[in-house]
C-alpha cells in the first residue's frame, strides 16, 4: 500500500509537484518532509487527510490521501 500526496494552487506551482506516491509514513508532516525533502512549511499552509481538514501531526495510514494547499479563495 502507498500514500498519495497532493499539492494544490500556488503551493503546487512552488513545489513543482501535483501528486506523489510514497511509502508508509506516520504523520502528514512526515509525508511533507519525504516529498519536499524537508522543505520549510509555508505560512498558513493547510492539510487534509482523506478529504477532511487535518494537522501536520495527524496520523496517516496506508492508503490515505494527504493534501497540502494554501488558504482557500473560492466563492
Amino acid at each position: 500500500m502507498t500514500i498519495q500526496v497532493k499539492f494544490f494552487a500556488s503551493l503546487r506551482e512552488k513545489m513543482g509537484v501535483s501528486e506523489s506516491k510514497i511509502e508508509s509514513v506516520a504523520t502528514a508532516g512526515d509525508a511533507w518532509d519525504l516529498v519536499t525533502n524537508h522543505a520549510e512549511h509555508p505560512i498558513n499552509i493547510l492539510v487534509a487527510i482523506n478529504l477532511e481538514y487535518a494537522q501536520f501531526d495527524s496520523p496517516v495510514n496506508d492508503g490515505d490521501e494527504v493534501a497540502f494547499f494554501p488558504p482557500v479563495t473560492g466563492g
Binding site: 494544490f8 494552487a9 500556488s10 506551482e13 481538514y53 479563495t73 473560492g74 466563492g75
Partner: protein, 145 residues
C-alpha cells in the same frame, strides 16, 4: 438539496428558476434567499481580465455536501442549491450561487449568509487572476469587504 460544480458558465437566475420548477414544495416556499458571487474587473486596485479557478474536486464535492447538510440541520430549510464554477472564468461570470428556500424568512436568510461565509473560508477553491502585471494567485478573499 443540490450541489453542482460547473466547468461551464451558468446563469444563476435560470438555474434557480429550473430548480424551483422541479421542486414539489413550491407552494410552501414563503422565503427564498440567494447570494451570487461574480467575477469583478478590479481586485486590490488592479485591473483583472480573466481568472482560473482551481479546486480539489473530491474534497470540494464532499465539503459542500456536508456544508449543505449542516445548514439543513441548523435551519428549517425546505430546499437549497449550491453551484460553483471552476476552470477558466471570464469577466462578469457568476462564480458561486447559493439559494435557500424556507417557510419563514429568517431560516433562508441566515442559512444563505452562513453558507457563503463557510464556503469562502473553507471550501478548497483557489483563484488565479490574469492582470496587467501578469498572473497572480489571490491570497485572501475571506473578509467580505
Amino acid at each position: 438539496m443540490s450541489i453542482h460544480i460547473s466547468e461551464q458558465p451558468f446563469d444563476p437566475w435560470v438555474e434557480i428558476t429550473q430548480h424551483q420548477k422541479q421542486s414539489a414544495l413550491e407552494k410552501q416556499f414563503g422565503a427564498t434567499a440567494t447570494f451570487i458571487g461574480s467575477m469583478r474587473d478590479f481586485n486590490d486596485g488592479a485591473k483583472v481580465s480573466s481568472m482560473v479557478l482551481e479546486h480539489y474536486p473530491e474534497m470540494t464535492q464532499r465539503y459542500l455536501e456536508k456544508l449543505e447538510q449542516q445548514a439543513h440541520q441548523k435551519w428549517d430549510l425546505l430546499d437549497s442549491l449550491i453551484i460553483h464554477r471552476v476552470g477558466d472564468i471570464s469577466l462578469a461570470d457568476p462564480i458561486v450561487l447559493i439559494a435557500c428556500w424556507s417557510a419563514h424568512r429568517r431560516a433562508a436568510l441566515d442559512a444563505c449568509n452562513w453558507l457563503i461565509e463557510e464556503l469562502k473560508h473553507n471550501a478548497p477553491f483557489w483563484k488565479k487572476e490574469s492582470r496587467q502585471d501578469g498572473e497572480r494567485w489571490v491570497e485572501n478573499n475571506t473578509d467580505g469587504t
